[in-house]
């Protein structure tokens, strides 16, 4: 159902340690325009749960959080 959602930009923060995935995602989101979709690739479990939480709190829409492999996640965030 989300296969047809094309991300506007991709942020690959795999390998990064706490809290860089979250901080880099927040910085990226601030630069993007309303309605655009950010794809985030992350391999840090805490951030895979925390980024969707904080993004939703900030009013952005989490289209999908998908576990793509062992210890790897892909999330799609629609900017408010």
């Amino acid at each position: 159902m989300t296969a047809n959602v094309k991300p506007t930009e991709t942020l690959d923060v795999r390998g990064e340690v706490c809290p860089y995935p979250d901080v880099k995602t927040q910085k990226k989101v601030k630069k993007m325009k309303s309605g655009e979709v950010l794809e985030v690739l992350v391999d840090y479990p805490l951030s895979a749960e925390r980024i969707p939480r904080s993004m939703e709190k900030a009013g952005h829409e989490i289209i999908e959080v998908e576990k793509t492999g062992t210890g790897e996640w892909r999330m799609l965030i629609k900017i408010k």
């Binding site: 390998g15 990064e16 809290p19 901080v23 479990p45 925390r50 939480r53 062992t70 210890g71």
Partner: protein, 352 residues
């Protein structure tokens, strides 16, 4: 060499602790840092709940003579300095002592490097080049010497196994007054602020335990219970992380098995338990950040090790195990760990 039953109990409690830490993503660096950095209060609620549960549990057990409480010695200068630099170090290391340890079990090489730094920093300070710094801040004479109940002429109270100061005995009050008030107020705030951070958990019970990250209140209760188990098993204290690693490296360097302590077996258990949890959840992966970040984490670990020896404990020994005993040393040390964490998080992530 410590006896086999202690070794086993350390390992068993450690494996459970590691499992809980990994499932609950329980890291105090994140818990404190995220308050100011991400305005995220999920982990701090888990930390607070674990402290409250242990506070009640420890005091109940002491009341029933199962254990005695051992608040740490109040070297006030050492607590302030050691706590503060520990807080600085844990932000650079991207994890506190417990967070770093459980992430080694998840396969995070940056945490492994931070752990090496922690061990080296600790041994350099406890018996090496920086021993002067430690003895200056933990002197037997002078303004910085330890303050005990004897110095203030107050009664340590009936639950303590030593003469160190607590929030209760410094005022000559019964500890239960504080336990009851802190527990009621703390639980009320947690229930009021329980919030919407809970993951909307779907799936079977098996999946919710072994596949998904736990809700904060489950983590808090689980960590609290593990802390109580640790105190029953070890008798002299509850959970601690950094001292276990210092003993580990010390035993390797000197070849003296007597350097291994109960906490050494606990921390080995934590790595194993976290690895088991991560593998079961499909989250175990060998991964590393870039070289610059690895260096930052190593330096962070080094500073944490120095801070933990000077401040006589890490975040676990002070905040998770000492604060529930109402130890003034741990309250002071813990406060400065948080301040060091906040200052560093501000400088690293929040300016500009």
């Amino acid at each position: 060499m410590i006896d086999t039953s202690l070794m086993l109990s350390g390992l068993i409690v450690g494996v459970i602790f590691g499992f809980v830490l990994q499932r609950g993503r329980f890291c105090m660096n994140s818990a404190f840092r995220d308050i100011i950095l991400l305005k995220e209060y999920t982990l701090i609620k888990a930390v607070a709940l674990a402290i409250i549960i242990q506070m009640i549990g420890f005091h109940l057990m002491a009341q029933m003579n199962i254990i005695q409480l051992y608040p740490k010695t109040l070297y006030w200068g050492a607590m302030i300095f050691g706590g503060f630099i520990f807080g600085v170090g844990m932000v650079l290391a991207a994890g506190c002592a417990s967070g770093t340890t459980y992430r080694v079990g998840e396969g995070m090489m940056g945490s492994f490097v931070a752990l090496l730094g922690l061990m080296i920093g600790g041994l350099v300070t406890s018996g090496g080049y920086l021993i002067k710094l430690k003895s200056t801040l933990q002197p037997t004479e002078g303004a910085l010497k330890a303050i005990t109940t004897a110095d203030l002429g107050v009664d340590p109270g009936h639950l303590l196994g030593n003469t160190n100061l607590t929030l209760a005995n410094i005022f000559g009050l019964d500890p239960w007054i504080f336990v009851v008030i802190i527990a009621i107020v703390g639980l009320a705030v947690l229930i009021w602020k329980r919030g919407d951070e809970e993951t909307k958990m779907k799936g079977s019970l098996y999946e919710r335990i072994f596949k998904m990250g736990w809700d904060w209140w489950i983590t808090g209760i689980a960590v609290g219970i593990v802390g109580i188990l640790a105190f029953i098993a070890f008798k002299n204290y509850a959970l601690g992380i950094s001292g276990g690693w210092f003993g580990f490296l010390n035993a390797l360097i000197t070849g003296d098995p007597d350097k291994l302590n109960w906490f050494t077996f606990l921390v080995i258990g934590v790595v194993v338990g976290a690895a088991v949890a991560a593998v079961m959840a499909g989250e175990f992966k060998l991964r590393a950040p870039d070289a610059k970040r690895l260096l930052q984490q190593f330096i962070g670990g080094l500073i944490m090790g120095i801070g933990a020896v000077i401040g006589t404990a890490c975040n676990i020994g002070h905040i998770l195990s000492g604060v529930p005993q109402l130890a003034l040393s741990s309250i002071l040390g813990g406060l400065f760990i948080v301040l060091g964490c906040w200052l560093t998080a501000y400088v690293l992530f929040m300016r500009g």
